[in-house]
Structures are given as C-alpha cells and as structure tokens.
C-alpha cells in the first residue's frame, strides 16, 4: 500500500496545497486526467466544508488529509471541529439555481463511499473511497 499524509492549517489558502497533493496521488494511482480533476475537486470541496462548517471559518485549526492507494483510491479527512450531522448533508437540487449546495454533488459523483466514521470522539473523520473504474485508467499514457 502506498500512502501520503498531510496536515495543513484550516486556512483556505492551503486548499491549493491539498489539491496539489491530491493530484499527485491520483497520478500515482494512474488515473486519467479527467478523473484526476474530479477527485481534486471533490477533495477540495470536502476540505472547504471542514473550514466552513466544522471550524466555522477559524483558520487557525488543523486539517489532516490521508491518502491510501490500495485496490481503491481512499482519502481520509480529519478535523477536530464541530461534529457533522451526516443525515442533514444534502446538496441542493441541481434544478434549483442558487448560490451554494453544489459541493456535496461534486463529492458524491466522484467517490463511491462518502462516510463519516462515527467512532471518532472529537471532530470528524470523513472517509472517501473511489473504486477503480474502467474510465479511471490513464489513457493518456496508454495504460
């Protein structure tokens, strides 16, 4: 198993760092460029949600992002902020055009598993898993 772990402050300016590492890990996994972009966006959205909802915009906290390359591509995002209530996490209808509510759609369309680990006592541990699909293959490299 290959893995990487990064810890960044909960400041939006570090989202670009998270995106860069996500893209690099997706590259190692061998994802096609289009899929890599989807994964990068989904992880960015999940971490943006940590800043917005778990930390209520407090830039002085920590976000830990762990990447595991197994058969599937797995990302675990941990914070020590306000507990998420998964039952209330729902994107807006895509037909209801208004600001906000799209991030969850970007995450769900990309990852097969979107689950909070309820065993974590303080804060949140979000597990995102994408199983390998045919279109994930890096066609650009002829694999």
């Amino acid at each position: 198993m290959e893995y990487a772990v990064i810890t960044v402050p909960s400041d939006p300016k570090y989202l670009s760092v998270i995106r860069s590492v996500t893209a690099a890990m997706a590259e190692i996994y061998g994802m096609a460029d289009r899929v890599k972009e989807d994964v990068k966006l989904a992880v960015d959205e999940a971490c943006s949600n940590v800043i917005k909802y778990a930390y209520r915009g407090d830039a002085g906290q920590k976000i830990v992002v762990k990447f595991f390359i197994k058969k599937a591509f797995e990302v675990v995002i941990e914070d020590s902020g306000i507990k998420a209530m998964p039952e209330f996490i729902e994107g807006r209808s895509l037909d209801d055009v208004r600001p906000g509510g799209l991030g969850v759609h970007f995450i769900r369309r990309t990852f097969d598993v979107f689950a909070f680990d309820q065993r974590k006592k303080k804060g949140n541990r979000l597990r995102l898993i994408r199983h390998r699909r045919e279109k994930d293959e890096d066609r650009d490299r002829g694999q």
Binding site: L15, S16, E45, V97, L102
Partner: protein
C-alpha cells in the same frame, strides 16, 4: 487567481486567471458585486485563463447573475475551458449563464 478589469470597446470585462476557489472567490465576489451595485451591463467574464473553479467560485457567479437580473443586466461568459465547462454542465448552469466562445460572439449576441 488574478483579476483584471478591462474596458473593451466600452464593455466591462472581468478577466480571470488561475484558480477560483474558496480562498480567491471573496476577491472575485467583491469585484463582481461592485459591478452589480453600479448596475453595469453588459458584463463579460473572460475565463480563458482560469485553470480551476470550485463550488464557491460558482456560487459567486450565481449570486452575481441574480443581482444583475434584478436590473435587467446581462452577464456573459467567454472562453470557458473544456474542464470548467464540464463542471458548469454537471451543475446545469450551462443553461443558466450566457456562454460564448469569443468576445466577438458575446458582443454580437
């Protein structure tokens, strides 16, 4: 992200480049809502240099569009890269925003 406000043949253009994300979208929102408060129309947004957009960037444009609709303003997007177009299409916003390939197409519409 870099924002340039350009006056092109009397039309205000917001020319963006780089990543539009939760970090940079407040600056974009500030510029866009300044235009809305001043009832600018038409307003073009040049996307040719945009490499990335997330939901906060999209939300900023939806808010801007709604503000402009209140005074009959026209918000026109130009040169959206394929990847970003795919995101707009997924969010069904390709039918909501006026999208053109070139500045000339937008100006002549």
């Amino acid at each position: 992200m870099k924002i340039e406000i350009v006056d092109s043949k009397g039309i205000k253009v917001i020319a963006l480049s780089g990543d539009v994300d939760m970090h940079s979208s407040p600056e974009l929102r500030k510029e866009l809502m300044f235009m809305v408060r001043n009832k600018v129309t038409p307003l073009f947004v040049d996307f040719r240099g945009v490499s990335y957009i997330d939901s906060s960037g999209i939300a900023t444009f939806v808010e801007g569009l709604k503000g402009m609709m209140a005074y009959g303003g026209k918000l026109k997007f130009v040169g959206i890269p394929e990847r970003i177009m795919e995101i707009f299409s997924f969010a069904k916003l390709d039918k909501v925003f006026e999208i053109y390939g070139t500045m000339n197409d937008a100006a002549n519409s």
